[in-house]
């Protein structure tokens, strides 16, 4: 990246900025840790049953209901906590699936080259030509509403980004003299692939995973917001933002605004973590 080139030769400023960023990085890690913990423990730490009707409709925040109650009188804090599961784990599923598929594409392409690599590049071009949201909507139209179809669809839609990045990393690693040396020594292709190539790609792929998590969280929340993902009454941040829209006009914005803030905070935290890991990956590579 050009940003790195610019800051080269200005070591003190870079070090100072890195120290500031580290403070931010730790804060982001803590925020993400708390949210992940809430997602894990949500059903146990929620103060109320997320489906229970309290009788107080569109209630404002109060000691009894810290985030207020929604249009049906359900406790918003409890729904946010239980909904964290779908909102946080579904993007993780997308990231893992797309990384496995993308890295596999990249390794096969980089290793075999020639027409194999050309075919893979063509497949990736076609996937890239269909916007992620459209892939997800197509999948929902085919297989019905819910989180499964969008998770699979987004995993496919994210392949191009992962594959292009890992292919660049893989080709660069393959060009290094030690790979040729290993080949001359008669080390098998699989051994080179699994023991040398793959580990060398870990930092750059890890950085991409963190960044990809933010994108897939936004995309999945958008799909739930559109009513095509997690189906009510099951709680999910995206669908809560959407069903809460009626509450806004009724003067009770809580049930939309709280999950919305959580989406933004989570994506921000993961973005900061991703940026830091990217810098590490680049430093390691340099």
């Amino acid at each position: 990246m050009s940003v790195v080139q610019i800051t080269n030769g200005k070591a003190p400023a870079v070090a100072k900025r890195a120290a500031q960023r580290d403070w931010l990085f730790i804060a982001a890690l803590i925020v993400f840790g708390v949210i992940a913990l809430a997602a894990l423990l949500g059903p146990w730490i929620a103060p109320y049953d997320p489906y229970a009707l309290s009788g107080e409709v569109n209630g404002a925040a109060s000691p009894d209901h810290l985030f207020g109650t929604d249009d049906l009188g359900r406790d918003i804090l409890s729904r946010v906590l239980v909904g964290a599961q779908a909102s946080v784990f579904a993007p993780i599923a997308v990231v893992i699936l797309s990384t496995v598929l993308g890295v596999a594409f990249a390794l096969i392409g980089a290793w075999f080259g020639g027409w194999v690599s050309g075919t893979i590049a063509r497949i990736i071009d076609v996937i890239f030509a269909i916007p992620g949201l459209v892939v997800a909507v197509l999948a929902v139209a085919m297989f019905g509403k819910g989180l499964v179809a969008p998770i699979v669809a987004l995993s496919i839609a994210y392949i191009p980004v992962v594959a292009r990045l890992s292919q660049t990393a893989a080709s660069r690693e393959l060009g290094k003299p030690y790979v040729a040396a290993l080949r001359v020594q008669g080390v098998s292709s699989w051994a080179i692939l699994l023991r040398h190539l793959l580990p060398a790609m870990v930092p750059i792929v890890a950085a991409q995973m963190a960044i990809g998590f933010g994108y897939s969280m936004l995309d999945l929340a958008a799909i739930s917001f559109l009513g095509l993902g997690q189906q009510p009454p099951a709680p999910d941040w995206g669908s809560m933002i959407s069903t809460g829209q009626a509450g806004i006009t009724a003067g009770a914005p809580e049930q939309s605004v709280f999950p919305a803030i959580l989406v933004v905070i989570t994506v921000l935290a993961v973005g900061i973590i991703g940026a830091r890991v990217t810098v590490w990956a680049e430093e390691k590579d340099a």
Binding site: V126, A129, A141, G227, A260, L268
Partner: protein, 317 residues
């Protein structure tokens, strides 16, 4: 034939091939559901008559390749097929809704270019304080998806302050503009922040380059250096990324349309998907993919024309 023409023709060929392959993918969605009849019946329990009707209407007995070809040639000629859920030609659904989406996207693009590129230029040229302020704002903006900005705008500007309508598209130019303003802002924020970042970093890369130093030493006025050396050289990258962003807006528009109750093709796509109306979803997907690919290619062409050497590396990073 010179090298530039050859490159452009090559890109054009790639574009047509990509569109062709994408259309096969979109067409095959009907086959991948396993049971096209159940899908086309849209959840209704198919009676024998209904099955026969669907078979005849969608030529399900014909070979797959023939059906694909008929579908594609039909679509190119404007025969979009029939929606089973809405009981009407898909064209009747798409045509009246396309205008709203187009207007929303154009308004969004104007906002993105003015405020995104503008703030990027300010950040790169007006010193540390401006740079930091823009940096903080764009960090926030890049974490603010359309649906979040939309509900915040509805809450603050439509509900609490009452400055803007909450719902619908309005009639006449000014009323339409008034109705589309909040949706366009909600759609623009994330992309605007991104374009601002890209503009800033490509300008800074140019400002620190040797040819700009040389121009400065030669005493060329700052404004001219900026126009002819810095901005011109940075523009292919800004354009390529703006092109991709703008191309994606037509699909992303769905979120703003649903949030603000606008009857564009995006909200139609969502509604059709929710009701498993595959003929409608297929046509809209094909339209969105075509727009996406063509706009990307145009941005690509323009940046090649501005700076032919940018293709030497072979990629657009």
């Amino acid at each position: 034939m010179n090298a530039l023409t050859r490159i452009l023709l090559g890109r054009l060929g790639g574009l047509v091939l990509t569109l062709f392959l994408a259309s096969i993918v979109i067409f095959s969605t009907l086959l991948l559901t396993g049971d096209p009849i159940a899908t086309l019946a849209g959840g209704a329990k198919p009676t024998p008559e209904l099955i026969a009707q669907i078979r005849a209407e969608y030529h399900l007995d014909a070979p797959v390749w023939g059906r694909y070809w008929d579908w594609l040639t039909g679509v190119v000629q404007g025969h979009f097929g029939r929606s089973f859920v809405y009981k009407t030609d898909v064209m009747n659904l798409v045509a009246p809704r396309f205008g709203i989406t187009l207007q929303l996207v154009i308004l969004t693009v104007i906002l993105i270019l003015i405020f995104g590129v503008g703030s990027g230029i300010l950040a790169a040229t007006r010193g540390r304080v401006v740079d930091r302020t823009v940096g903080i704002l764009t960090s926030l903006g890049m974490a603010a998806p359309t649906f979040v900005v939309a509900i915040l705008l509805i809450w603050i500007f439509a509900q609490s302050l009452g400055w803007f309508p909450v719902f619908g598209a309005g009639d006449g130019f000014w009323d339409r503009l008034w109705h589309l303003f909040l949706p366009a802002v909600s759609l623009a924020v994330l992309f605007l922040a991104y374009i601002s970042r890209v503009t800033r970093s490509s300008l800074i890369a140019q400002l620190h380059s040797e040819h700009v130093d040389t121009a400065r030493v030669r005493g060329i006025p700052r404004q001219r250096i900026f126009a002819t050396h810095v901005f011109r050289n940075a523009s292919p990258q800004i354009l390529a990324i703006s092109g991709t962003t703008i191309a994606g807006l037509f699909a992303a528009s769905a979120i703003a349309e649903v949030a603000f109750g606008l009857g564009g093709i995006g909200s139609l796509l969502v509604e059709a998907a929710a009701r498993s109306d595959l003929p409608v979803v297929q046509i809209l997907s094909l339209i969105l993919v075509t727009i996406f690919v063509v706009l990307n290619a145009i941005a690509d062409f323009i940046s090649i024309l501005i700076d032919p050497t940018s293709v030497v590396g072979g990629n657009r990073e």
